[in-house]
């Protein structure tokens, strides 16, 4: 057996231990880096050299140990599960946040909501009826003020919904531009990874960054990643490929830019001129708010305004003012934004059932509209208060179910996070164990060299002095 061979063997042990210590160090310092996957050194023993060397005699030398690979421990299935769960979570959160903004506008239940204003409005008609007199205009003036207040509150809600819509629209535009940025970053990374793989360079850190970007794309627009050759990934959104190799496609946001036209020209994501069917991610939640939730809510608010207008006008038109003029419109306008009160003074209110009388029976009949039975009899359908309650309750139910779904989804995301972390996360205990292990291994390899050195010393300096 050759002493030189053993030195080489021990030297490979030293360098393997050093390399392993490198990786352990890299793992430890990145223990808290988001998206970092732990790495492992794969050691393999090298067998005897294929041909004996000149000095080796008949016995083959051992090749020592070699670092065959540095692997990155990350399960792509777990990662895909996590990315998809994150996308769904973002959908629910985005949709709920737009609705929560709308819910604030309603100010229900409480003393500042529309319900209260409508009750006050109807009740003030009763005050007109019980205090009917051509000289006492105060109750009539209060009624008109209350009507203006109800109309103003409906305006404010409709304006608020339009503002909420615009904010959500801006947020969606931001989501799209972030997604485009992530897609182009991912395309660049794909290129670097390919170069690295072809050149045989370690690309583990690049792969980590790539997984982070894929996760981000999933959260933003519900991108789904498919592995491609040379460690690259291909990402598609609703079947439309947005990243393919080193090419990234740009998504654009088209369609209506305001709430009024949102139903006729719903906002849509496009790739060129092709509509992209978004299936998950924040964009889906924002699109759901823009395309259906907020327009539906506005339509319901408009219906409240229209039914209020129709019910009051229907009764008002049957009456006469105290001056004997037939009652015209009380409310004018076509929706919540345009609802307005027509009479400007108490004398303009049609309160009497017959011309030339000082009668308040029509005023009382309008006041009685606060009772749903009377309102639905006049309208042949739900009255304004019933519609308003229905709208409020429906919004509450939708938001609550979104919040519940979101909190369930959050647990799913956490479970997926835990699974990814359990698989890919750095355990400091484990790394410290490895540190000791590789330290000992280095020490032992060094000891082998010392021992061989001593043997050579014996051979070189003491040969011939045996027994002296």
């Amino acid at each position: 057996m050759s002493g030189f061979g053993t030195l080489n063997t021990a030297a490979t042990g030293l360098s393997a231990a050093q390399r392993a210590m490198d990786i352990t160090g890299q793992n430890i310092v990145n223990a808290n880096t988001a998206g970092y996957s732990r790495q492992r050194v794969l050691l393999s023993s090298a067998g005897p050299a294929t041909s004996a060397t000149f000095f080796s005699g008949q016995q083959a030398t051992f090749g020592g140990v070699g670092v065959s690979d540095i692997t990155r421990i990350r399960d792509s299935f777990l990662e895909a599960t996590r990315a998809a769960a994150g996308g769904r979570q973002e959908t629910l959160t985005a949709q709920a946040s737009a609705l929560a903004g709308a819910q604030q506008l309603l100010a229900e239940p409480g003393d500042n909501g529309l319900q209260r204003s409508m009750d006050e409005f109807f009740n003030s008609w009763h005050d007109v009826a019980t205090n009917i007199s051509p000289d006492n205009t105060a109750p009539g003036a209060v009624t008109i003020e209350n009507g203006v207040k109800v109309a103003g509150q409906l305006h404010a809600i409709a304006f608020g919904l339009a503002a909420q819509w615009s904010v959500t629209h801006d947020a969606l535009a931001d989501t799209v531009s972030q997604a485009n940025q992530a897609a182009s970053d991912l395309a660049v990374l794909n290129g670097k990874i390919q170069e690295g793989v072809v050149a045989g360079r370690p690309v583990n850190e690049l792969l980590d960054s790539r997984d982070q970007l894929v996760r981000r794309l999933s959260e933003l627009v519900g991108g789904v990643a498919l592995p491609a050759e040379d460690g690259q990934v291909q990402v598609s959104v609703g079947g439309v490929s947005v990243v393919s190799g080193t090419k990234a496609q740009t998504l654009t946001l088209g369609g209506a830019g305001d709430l009024a036209t949102a139903t006729t020209d719903p906002p849509t994501l496009y790739w060129g001129t092709t509509p992209v069917p978004v299936e998950s991610g924040r964009a889906l939640g924002q699109l759901a708010s823009l395309r259906s939730d907020l327009p539906t809510l506005l339509a319901a608010v408009d219906q409240v305004a229209v039914s209020l207008r129709d019910a009051v006008n229907a009764v008002h038109a049957t009456g006469f003012t105290l001056a004997g003029a037939p009652g015209g419109l009380f409310f004018d306008g076509t929706d919540a934004l345009t609802l307005s009160v027509v009479p400007t003074a108490a004398a303009g209110l049609a309160v009497a059932s017959a011309p030339g009388t000082v009668d308040g029976s029509v005023a009382a009949a309008i006041g009685d509209l606060s009772d749903e039975r009377n309102a639905s009899a006049v309208l042949g359908g739900p009255g304004p208060s019933a519609r308003w309650r229905e709208l409020t309750t429906a919004l509450g139910v939708q938001l609550k179910s979104l919040e519940t779904a979101s909190s369930v989804q959050q647990s799913v995301v956490r479970a997926a996070d835990d699974a990814v972390e359990a698989n890919a996360g750095v355990s400091l205990d484990e790394e410290m164990g490895n540190m000791i292990l590789f330290q000992r291994s280095y020490q032992a390899s060094a000891r082998v060299i010392t021992t061989v050195d001593e043997m050579l010393d014996t051979l070189i300096n003491r040969t011939g002095t045996v027994g002296r």
Partner: protein, 290 residues
């Protein structure tokens, strides 16, 4: 359970636990400081629907109570006026009977006539009794008198109705014809003339006067019946209002002792979670390696 636990997993899960605990505390804190269980529809959608209905019904009940106050004021004034009217007519009957005394001098007769004329003036004023500038016996007539200067009834007998509960209305006016406003002024003119003339009042006039008096007495009974109906409606509506108030509070307000207990329990849980996290996050293999 997952087989492999890392330090980061422990710290993440500890942090999540702490945050969930803090979130629950914050919710309880918000409920405590606002005193309300439902502050927005999504807190409890069906509770919100009830809350809005109860509040609307309470607003109606409050309006009905206001209407009832108005109705009572009006009925009280009317009642007093009809009582007065009845007393006046009784006085006229007294004077009329006195006029049948054949020993009465001419001066005495004209004095009786003058007194009846004076009473007629009172009676017309009574017929024109007003509540909030409106003649209570005039129905919905334009103008502020039920009987004009010539003693003619100008009211229209149209009903004045007030809603006193969700299902009930009450008529708060008294028709002029129900208190004989259409006949009494003329009758009194005639009686004044008859008592001033020899022979005194005729039996026909006396019968007409008695008929008018009995009409007025009927009206008194009718007003009393309506006033008591309004009074009992007031008691009912008021108790409905209080009931609704209680239901609103039950529906929307927090159970104070329960919420405080929950908050206390939550704080204990939070503190123990903090303690556990502090213990487990500090230990490391590095402490035990030389």
């Amino acid at each position: 359970m997952i087989g492999r636990i890392t330090q980061r997993a422990i710290s993440d899960s500890a942090l999540r636990g702490l945050q969930a605990s803090l979130d629950r505390s914050a919710r309880l804190q918000e409920q405590l400081s606002s005193g309300r269980r439902i502050s927005q529809p999504s807190d409890d959608p069906s509770g919100t629907a009830s809350a809005m209905t109860f509040r609307s019904q309470r607003a109606s009940a409050e309006q009905h109570l206001r209407n009832i106050d108005g109705a009572q004021g009006r009925l009280n004034i009317t009642d007093a006026a009809v009582g007065d009217l009845s007393a006046r007519l009784a006085k006229v009957r007294e004077l009329a009977l006195a006029s049948q005394n054949g020993a009465l001098s001419t001066e005495g007769r004209s004095a009786l006539g003058a007194e009846v004329t004076a009473i007629r003036g009172n009676v017309v004023d009574i017929y024109n009794t007003r509540y909030l500038d409106r003649p209570v016996f005039g129905g919905t007539v334009a103008g502020d008198a039920a009987v004009d200067g010539a003693g003619a009834y100008v009211g229209d007998d149209a009903p004045v109705v007030v809603r006193i509960s969700r299902d009930a209305t009450v008529r708060v006016d008294v028709r002029g014809t129900d208190v004989a406003a259409d006949s009494v002024p003329a009758l009194l003119d005639q009686i004044a003339a008859e008592v001033a003339s020899p022979g005194g009042i005729t039996n026909a006039s006396l019968d007409a006067l008695d008929a008018a008096r009995s009409t007025v007495l009927n009206a008194i009974g009718d007003i009393g019946a309506r006033a008591s109906r309004v009074e009992s409606a007031k008691v009912q509506v008021d108790s409905l209002r209080l009931d609704l108030q209680g239901r609103i509070s039950e529906n929307e307000d927090i159970d104070l002792p329960e919420t405080i207990m929950n908050l206390q329990a939550q704080q204990v849980a939070y503190e123990s979670a903090l303690g556990a996290a502090a213990k487990i996050l500090q230990t490391s293999l590095a402490d035990f390696l030389k």
